[in-house]
Amino acid sequence: MRRLPPLLKELHKPGRKGLAVPRGGFEVRPAAELLPTDLLRHEPLSLPEVPEVEVVRHFVNLSNLNYGVDTGFYPLGSCTMKYNPKINEEVSAWFSDLHPYLPAKYVQPLLELLYTLQQDLLEVTGMDAITLEPAAGAHGELTAMLMAKAYLKDKGLHHKDIVIVPDSAHGTNPASAAMAGFQVITVQSNEEGLVDIDKLKAVLNDRVAVLMLTNPNTLGKFERDIMEMAKMVHDLGGLLYYDGANLNGILGWVRPGDMGFDFVHLNLHKTFSTPHGGGGPGSGPVAVKKELEPYLPKPVIVKDGETYKLETDRPKSIGKVRSFYGNILVALKALAYIKALGGAGLREAGALAVLNANYMRVKTEEFLPTAYPGLCKHEYVATAEGLKRQFGVRTLDIAKRLLDKGFHAPTVYFPLIVHEALMIEPTETETKENLDAFVEALREIVEEAQTNAELVKSAPHVTPVRRLDDTKATKQLKVRW
């Protein structure tokens, strides 16, 4: 049975043409006249032939099955689903028809914009040098870990091969460290949801290369012993890495560079309002202190007098982490956002993000406990452990029931250290009415769990499809038509 629109393949009829190939004053010659037959494709190619109007309707109908920030409240923890300003989309598109191999003298205005963004991001982070090359947050982490490796090799510190990651960290942290050839050691959080300083001390030794921290952490808690941790790591010759996924919680109030961090990645698609695109493209710039600058990926955008350059002559650079120079259009959207807000506006945005999160936390604590109570930053983690124990209603059920009530669900089952976790991040761009409405929806669900658990457990009921069978998807793998 299918309630979804038909696939493109099913709209196909042979002999239909969508759009015409540009003529340009040429009669197209058959490939067989121009190339030897053994270079040509003989395997049949079956692509959908669909008229333009049907293609339009196909995608418009598909988009109607989606939920985006422009649809409604999207409190997905650690993803910072803030409003994506439309002016950013408009102005960035003006740069879409530029080729990356245009000689630098012809793209000075663009390089100036990118350089300006770099300077602004350095001010926001309190760092000394930066690359815009990484394509995503995880990509930025990998870039940073490779730079750490190159730095350690260069200094002859080959024995430093351990990266420490708190148990509350994003999964990309250990995965990125492992890809850069480090051994990963996990350190447990304490009863307040913070890195346990004693446990950290216990694993710190001369082999420790990097401590990766997200601050505020994934529980929304600020690691208040950060200065002490920084000293402990630095005293051993190690580096302190800042995962910028949660920068929105301290934006304009405290800077990673001032907390003792040596390098940091930013998620332009979180803190700086660029859209998530259904899963990319993001952008994950990496900013560093002076001592790590030589290892930045190539090229580095620099200003030489009045001229901007894509500098490639960098002997200690790790190389490149992707082709060309980065997700330039995403960077321009972030710049438009920064220019809209300015320094004071960024600081206000940070404060209001924290205000929204704490307001919701206090409201939801009336009926759903927060895993680690007390002041949070941009997000907090509630737990449905009690509901599961008493009524058999799990976090997954609550998430699905929220979809019925017209909201996107929070991040669920993360961080891993909280049972039945609901990680809620409202961002600063939501109105008080929206927060209140979500809180009321959650309150209703908690009541439903007590009075009509089955209704919640069998949710969602009104979405385009209902709960999907993940096991079947894995066992009877069907990944193409």
Binding site: G25, H99, L341, G343, V479
Partner: protein, 435 residues
């Protein structure tokens, strides 16, 4: 401008609900010595019109493809982007959504991802692909890592005729992981097949076709040669060439990667675009990245979900196949729209490029700019010039952008389906005038 909606009264009311009086108190948990005691020194606070003016001034001062004539290549090309592509990518429910974690309200993205996977498999002849990678270069590097995982051999052979950025990315990965790259040299613009005779045991061989110089490699020969030695064959391809050129399946590729810009994406000064990575079903569990599978909901209706997630970082952490999390989905979506529109014309599109590039090469040869090497090409080729940088500069002054420069005497020239006969003749005339 500000995008936060709070009125001063609401701020007060919300602070009261929390039991606080001032916004500053929200940061009481931060050590005083770390707190920033000033505003960020960042210029801004601009209205929309000022933002427009700022960006317009910069954009207007540059020779983009709407003002100048591009014959630029080297991995990114001035291809035709149908009007509908940008419209679909601007649908808010697509571009303001995140990763489809909540499948029931993300079927739009998930269906399109399933279609994307199907189309990439169709083009390459492979059995399985993920829902996109960052770009062609990182996809190629991930494919190399994947081959080394599968074979358990920490050595990979790579043709020197692949895009130089692929080497740069592999070198970066080498900083972190202990593996060896065997470089297969280039002879007359093509990967030197003879060099494979001396090859030590490798996990695989990576060859790009058309290669960095635009030349079509003898892929079947490389496929057989590396298979005889027990390695995997990794092919890097231009997807737009696959309506005309032999499919990777036809030359026994095991992993296929590529840069997807040519399928409906603008040049974007090099990013964002998307990369793809496709392979055989037997290697599916070694593949990085997100994958979408078909299933049913509780009522038996067809639906789509992210699947085989146990390979991924959010579950496997340091043991994951890769650290990749977000991919470049929106750019991959462009390719689905593009192929939906161009499916019926896809072969003709390839032929129209081939027609133009053949014509341009012939005309340039007539006015004294022969091909650097006499090989078959698809949409770009290297020409022999007296001084590549000078020729490039002179043409640029006339509004014709050609390149990149390969070496002192070699200039790469690319021609897409957007170039008209008039523009091509214009380039030939200009170059004739430079002699």
């Amino acid at each position: 401008m500000r995008y936060a909606p709070h009125s001063p009264e609401e701020v007060k009311e919300m602070l009261r609900a929390i039991g606080l009086e001032r916004l500053e108190q929200l940061f009481d948990d931060i050590p005083t010595e770390a707190l920033l005691k000033r505003h960020l020194n960042v210029e801004g606070g601009w209205d929309e019109e000022r933002i427009r003016a700022y960006f317009r001034k910069a954009a207007a001062a540059m020779p983009d493809a709407n003002k100048a004539v591009y014959f630029l290549g080297g991995g990114i090309y001035d291809h035709y982007v149908p009007a509908l592509v940008d419209k679909v990518l601007s649908l808010p429910e697509f571009y303001t959504a995140y990763t489809p974690y909540q499948a029931e309200v993300s079927q739009g993205t998930l269906v399109a991802m399933f279609e994307y996977q199907s189309l990439i498999c169709e083009l390459t002849g492979m059995e399985v692909t993920n829902a996109s990678m960052y770009d062609g270069a990182s996809a190629a590097a991930e494919a190399a890592l994947m081959a080394m995982r599968i074979k358990g051999i920490k050595r990979i052979a790579v043709s020197k005729a692949v895009h130089p950025d692929i080497f740069e990315v592999l070198h970066a990965y080498q900083v972190g992981q202990d593996f060896e790259i065997v470089e297969i040299p280039v002879l007359n613009g093509l990967t030197h097949a003879g060099a494979l005779d001396e090859l030590p045991p490798v996990a695989g061989l990576l060859v790009q076709s058309p290669n960095y110089y635009g030349f079509i490699e003898n892929m079947p020969a490389f496929g057989s040669a590396i298979h005889e030695k027990g390695g995997l064959f990794i092919a890097a391809v231009d997807p737009l060439s696959l309506g005309v050129l032999k499919s990777p399946k036809e030359y026994q590729a095991d992993i296929v990667v590529g840069e997807g810009q040519s399928l409906g994406n603008h040049m974007n000064f090099g990013g964002p675009h998307f990369g793809f990575l496709a392979t055989k079903m037997e290697f599916v569990r070694d593949m990085p990245g997100r994958m979408i599978g078909e299933t049913n909901d509780v009522d038996g209706r067809v639906g789509y979900v992210m699947t085989l997630q146990t390979r991924e970082q959010h579950i496997r952490r340091e043991k994951a196949t890769s650290n990749i999390c977000s991919n470049h989905w929106l750019m991959a979506l462009a390719s689905v729209v593009y192929l939906g529109l161009m499916g019926g014309s896809f072969k003709e599109l390839g032929e129209s490029i081939l027609t133009r590039s053949t014509y341009l090469a012939e005309q340039l040869a007539k006015v004294g700019y022969p091909l650097r090497y006499r090989n078959y090409f698809f949409k770009e080729f290297p020409v022999h010039v007296p001084n590549a940088t000078e020729v490039q500069s002179a043409l640029a002054e006339a509004g014709y952008f050609v390149g990149p420069v390969i070496d002192e005497n070699t200039l790469l020239v690319a021609v897409t389906e957007k170039r008209t006969r008039e523009e091509i003749d214009g380039l030939v005339g200009l170059m004739e005038g430079l002699r």
